[in-house]
Point group: C2
Chain length 259, copies 2
């Protein structure tokens, strides 16, 4: 299994604190030794840092932890390989362009019988079930919506249905973003929290670090963090239900469909 | 104008030395203050580091300079914006998937009358002439070769012809790679050098750094570096001619078409 970490915020926000917790699980407090990656959106562009090496020993992960890249949408993943070898092309997140937007995807879980999914023009480069599922999902979305509709709600509905199909093939926890929206799907393990004023303090589970969000934020900031397991032990995280699909926008839960 | 840097090698090789020279041109010895990026291929996967800030002041550029990522194919770019604002989505290199391969592109120059080029399913995300030219080029290649032919020579011929078309729209110096091949096209400024045994010493033009390649290599290493302007002042760089198109493979010049 792997661990997912996502963020949606109404102002560019750094994710150093949460990432510090996550990266400890990459070979230190957790068994996820098979690479990690993180994608930051800035405007319509994005930056991805990734490494097939364990995050707890990665120079690049160190930089990401120390260097506050501010973003409104983040997708991150640390990997414990099941399908597909340990290599850069199999390291999440994966990004592809659709409708002139970059879409970024990370998956936790394992699928069976996925090999026959039709990916159309979105051809996997590596050999993970995850990248193939992503390519299939984009192909499904493009097949139904060759151009983006004005209201994306119908797209979200369709993505949710496609995720149901993927869940029928195994464990499918997902983060997906186009830089504006962060979409999540839960099979078994996905938690979320929205932080807003009045901000308090929080302590990481995986490392002895406490943050006072009040020092780091303005009163109007709204920031949601989504993670496989709660990252802090003194805040109240919501556990998502099997089949739950959610859309976060500018830090707020914008849409939710229970499974 | 911008500066390009590319590498092709027969063994995974780091590009720290050349990158050190290039990054000085990003706001220090050169005027290219509007972002930089570098893509390293490792197997079929790739990593891109990019920053819309000047490379000479970038924390991330510092990391890339110090951290020897070993690769057989590299595409790098520092930018002085002409078409398109300074933003992450306008920062080269650009990467898209075609045939289940990641293709990475960087451009130096400026085009006019490019807006009507048909990009098909490859939709630009930013608003540079460069990304649009890249999308058009991939669309041309996919239109002619929906599947990759067994011998890529015919693809290279076609890419060269497409580059001629782009050159007719202005200044078009290009680096393009799928991780195995590094393709170059010259309108006015592009230089290359192949280093092989017996290796000697070389000194950067842009910073007081000398390297003894013999200490860094084995006798079988073959490494080609392509750059807008020579990066060293004590080696003999080849200047490419207007319209010259070349393909480098495993460090060697594999194909060349004079303009």
């Amino acid at each position: 299994m792997c661990e997912l970490l996502g963020m949606s915020a109404n102002v560019p926000t750094d994710i150093c604190f949460s990432f510090t917790g996550l990266m400890q699980r990459g070979g230190n407090t957790g068994p996820h030794r098979d690479g990690w990656g993180i994608t930051f959106y800035e405007g319509k562009g994005f930056r991805t840092f990734k490494d097939p090496n364990p995050s707890s020993q990665s120079r690049i992960a160190e930089l990401v932890q120390e260097y506050p890249i501010k973003s409104r949408a983040v997708v991150s993943h640390i990997r414990q390989a099941n399908r597909g070898g340990v290599s850069l092309e199999n390291t999440h997140p994966f990004t592809r362009e659709l409708w002139g937007q970059y879409w970024t995807f990370a998956h936790n879980g394992q699928l069976t019988g996925y090999e026959s999914l039709e990916t159309g023009r979105f051809k996997p480069v590596g050999d993970t079930d995850s990248e193939l599922a992503f390519c299939w999902l984009l192909n499904q979305v493009e097949g139904r919506f060759p151009e983006p509709p004005e209201e994306l709600d119908v797209v979200f509905d369709w993505v949710a249905k496609c995720c149901d199909t993927l869940r029928s093939l195994g464990v499918y926890n997902m983060l997906l973003s186009n830089g504006e929206y962060v979409l999540t799907y839960c099979t078994n393990n996905l938690h979320w929290i929205t932080r807003r004023a009045p901000f308090g303090k929080a302590s990481l589970i995986d490392e002895d670090v406490t943050i006072d969000f009040q020092q780091e934020t303005t009163p109007n900031d709204v920031v949601t963090v989504v993670a496989t397991q709660p990252l802090t032990n003194d805040e109240c995280w919501h556990k998502m239900l099997p089949g739950e699909f959610s859309v976060f926008h500018l830090g707020e839960l914008a849409y939710s469909r229970k499974g």
